[in-house]
């Protein structure tokens, strides 16, 4: 009885969380310009999306491209910077270590708008013209802390002697890093990269303040502008539905795989 109640509660919450997403998904199969009015089943919006024949013109397509490209570059740089930083911080001691950890926490505690406004003021102050580069730099700023945090546990789990063991067996410091340290940290680096990538994809506020006035749009800023003009581009519906399905499938695969390997070990 208790169990049934618990299950109901969980599924009710999930239903609430997913209702808007299902709403979008359902209305991606109709041609109506307005979300919420059903004008018969159609896959026209999907066709438009894939042929590039979008009513919003090339703007939506380029916004998607920008989003992906910025996320990719920012995540790659964050992973590199964050991993090197994590190794450094891990080897620091006492006050220096606490200071670095504190600094690393700041971008995570700060709400997006503070990060956005502060970076906006920085670029204004330095008279740095805002655009692609500033957006990428801003994304690296708020993504790197998450990479540091996901690499750090791998460092502390690691047997501290394995780097020395590699040196002992004749590896140069470079070889020891590449052949032993990096493979050990790889899981942390990958999950750090994934987090950075998704954080960047999802960002709105920071991009909004650092993109300047050159008309650079990511998916978020595109949607924002679109919504303020009134009426969303209908092709966003199939796009969101597809992203949703992709994420769902990816997450479930990753989790099933990791829980299976866990079971095998147990």
């Amino acid at each position: 009885m208790k169990k049934l109640f618990a299950k109901c509660y969980i599924w009710l919450l999930l239903a609430m969380l997913y209702a808007p997403l299902l709403f979008i998904a359902v209305f991606s199969f109709t041609e109506s310009r307005v979300l919420g009015s059903w004008t018969g089943f159609s896959t026209k919006l999907y066709q438009n999306l894939f042929t590039g024949n979008v009513s919003g013109g090339a703007a939506l397509i380029s916004a998607v491209e920008n989003t992906l490209l910025i996320a990719l570059i920012a995540a790659a740089f964050s992973t590199l910077l964050g991993t090197v930083a994590a190794i450094g911080i891990f080897n620091l001691k006492g006050r220096a270590k606490r200071t670095m950890q504190f600094l690393n926490n700041i971008p995570m505690i700060n709400p997006d708008i503070i990060t956005g406004v502060s970076l906006f003021l920085l670029f204004v102050f330095l008279k740095f013209s805002q655009g692609y580069v500033t957006v990428v730099l801003a994304h690296i700023t708020f993504c790197t802390p998450y990479v540091v945090l996901s690499v750090m546990p791998k460092l502390s789990q690691m047997n501290p002697n394995i780097y020395e063991a590699a040196l002992d067996l004749g590896a140069t410091p470079g070889q020891a890093l590449w052949k032993v340290l990096v493979p050990e940290l790889r899981p942390g680096m990958i999950s750090g990269f994934m987090m950075a990538f998704t954080m960047s994809l999802d960002d709105f506020a920071v991009t909004f303040f650092t993109r300047g006035t050159i008309g650079l749009d990511t998916l978020s800023t595109y949607i924002y502008a679109d919504a303020r003009k009134g009426g969303l581009t209908p092709e966003l519906r199939p796009l969101m539905t597809l992203i949703f399905l992709l994420v769902l499938v990816l997450l479930i695969i990753i989790n099933l795989r990791s829980s299976r390997t866990k079971n095998v070990i147990e």
């Binding site: 047997n159 002697n161 394995i162 020395e164 063991a165 590699a166 040196l167 002992d168 067996l169 004749g170 590896a171 140069t172 410091p173 070889q175 020891a176 052949k179 032993v180 493979p183 050990e184 790889r186």
Partner: protein
């Protein structure tokens, strides 16, 4: 001469911050020898090993390998290999690739790598495990792979850092035999670090006993066991009773209230000494009349092969005795010790000698605070002097706050009728204390000394 020495350590010192971890270490290792660095945790043995491997640079001194100074050479260029304490196998590589790691780096042809790895895995009885992931191996198996990984490179010296510490007792005993066998087959020099005296006695050709960053004694296992040079070594190696004694003249020593014949000479006359008696060397019998002294058995425990008894002697000392026969608690027994089995050691100190500065005629400052005492008229304020305090005149208190200064019980020795403690004060100075009270290692104590018990002396030189 140095040609025979594969490793020659000269005047090696190392400090971490204020702490001197190694203090002027000197020793050499003969080619093909199995040498063990033995000591309690924190004695500097691992630091010494890591300096030989090249992970820590010495502050002072040199390490010679076959006569050449290798102090400045990075670890990956030293022809030495290490077996790490927790194995440090690479988790992302399988057994074969772990063992082949060093050979691949040295660009050895694949065929030769395969031959050598297989041969080495066979040597450590891990032949069928080549493709296994290292996480799936037991502790003992991981240990074998770690040994193979180091030995496959044919190092000039194999360094082993407490390699068996993580294994259970049974596995440890088996691995000890195997290590000895591997050492014999390969003919490679082994430098082995352990805190387990039994392991050191079983495995080594030579033992280097270390404590607090200094070498206490170097010798064969038999030498170290039978003729410890000081009370630390005597206490650390095997079981023993250490007693205060007086060397009356050559070949005659007094302890436990009796005079004994011994084989030691050259101490001088009426000199205080430490006497070591191993429990298995005390001859116990029911023949009270024909023995050197007598006692009453207080307790008797069966230890598997022999019985371990504590005997209260006629002059009020407690003595540990091991014998194949048991004697009922409460029974009166006769006790004798052969002259050969009495080990006499010079005392390292007979009282506390502390550096002090005169403040005025009633006060000196030492050990980081000011003490009341009577300062002889010949000394003036600011003079550097020595303060002497007898071992039994230092008071230890339960609460650190109650004492003039705080400290920690660092080391303790039972001397038959009292305890001899080494106290490490909060400022890092040592004090030696004789007491009848029972303390444990690590106990925090308050320290106090009565003004009348501080004797001020002139500093020599």
């Amino acid at each position: 001469m140095t040609k025979d020495y594969i490793i020659d350590i000269q005047h090696l010192s190392k400090s971490f911050g204020d702490v001197k971890v190694l203090d002027d270490i000197n020793f050499y290792v003969r080619r093909g020898e199995f040498i063990t660095l033995l000591g309690p945790s924190g004695c500097g043995k691992t630091t010494l090993l890591r300096q030989i491997a090249g992970f820590i640079a010495p502050d002072e001194g040199r390490i010679l390998l076959e006569g050449k100074d290798i102090s400045g050479i990075p670890p990956h260029k030293r022809p030495l290999n290490t077996v790490f304490q927790r194995y440090a196998l690479f988790p992302h590589l399988d057994v074969f690739d772990n063992v082949a790691f060093g050979l691949k780096l040295h660009k050895i042809p694949a065929k030769e790598i395969e031959q050598r790895v297989k041969k080495m895995l066979k040597m450590v009885s891990m032949t069928d495990y080549e493709d296994r992931s290292v996480d799936s191996l037991s502790g003992g198996q991981q240990q074998r792979v770690a040994i193979a990984r180091a030995l496959v490179n044919y190092p000039k010296v194999l360094l082993l850092d407490e390699p068996l510490a993580a294994l259970d007792l049974k596995m440890r005993k088996d691995m000890q035999l195997e290590l000895k066998e591997i050492h014999r087959k390969m003919g490679i020099t082994f430098i082995y670090v352990t805190h387990d005296q039994e392991e050191a006695l079983t495995l080594s050709d030579t033992i280097v006993v270390m404590n607090e960053g200094r070498i206490q004694q170097i010798g064969t296992p038999t030498d170290i066991y039978n003729e410890p040079v000081n009370s630390f070594v005597a206490d650390f190696i095997g079981e023993s009773t250490i007693l205060n004694g007086t060397m009356i003249c050559d070949r005659k020593v007094e302890f436990m209230g009796h005079e004994f014949e011994c084989v030691d000479e050259g101490f001088g006359e009426n000199v205080p000494v430490d006497v070591v008696v191993r429990p298995e060397d005390v001859v116990i019998s029911s023949d009270v009349e024909g023995s050197q002294f007598s006692g009453v058995v207080e307790s008797c425990i069966f230890k598997g092969v022999h019985y371990e008894m504590f005997v209260d002697t006629d002059k009020g000392y407690e003595l540990m005795v091991q014998d194949y026969d048991s004697f009922e608690p409460g029974s009166k027994v006769g006790l004798s010790i052969n002259p050969d089995d009495i080990q006499v050691m010079r005392k390292e100190r007979t009282c506390n000698t502390i550096e002090a500065t005169v403040e005025d005629q009633e006060h000196v400052s030492m050990l980081g605070c000011t003490w009341e005492c009577s300062v002889p008229a010949e000394f003036k304020s600011g003079d550097e002097v020595l303060a002497e305090v007898a071992f039994d005149k230092v008071d230890l208190l339960d609460n650190q706050e109650d004492g003039k200064l705080g400290g920690e019980v660092h080391f303790l020795l039972y001397k038959g009728d009292h305890y001899h403690l080494t106290i490490l004060t909060d400022d890092g100075d040592h004090l030696w204390v004789d007491t009848d009270d029972i303390w444990d290692k690590g106990d925090l104590v308050g320290i106090d000394i009565l003004p009348s018990d501080i004797k001020i002396k002139r500093k020599n030189g």
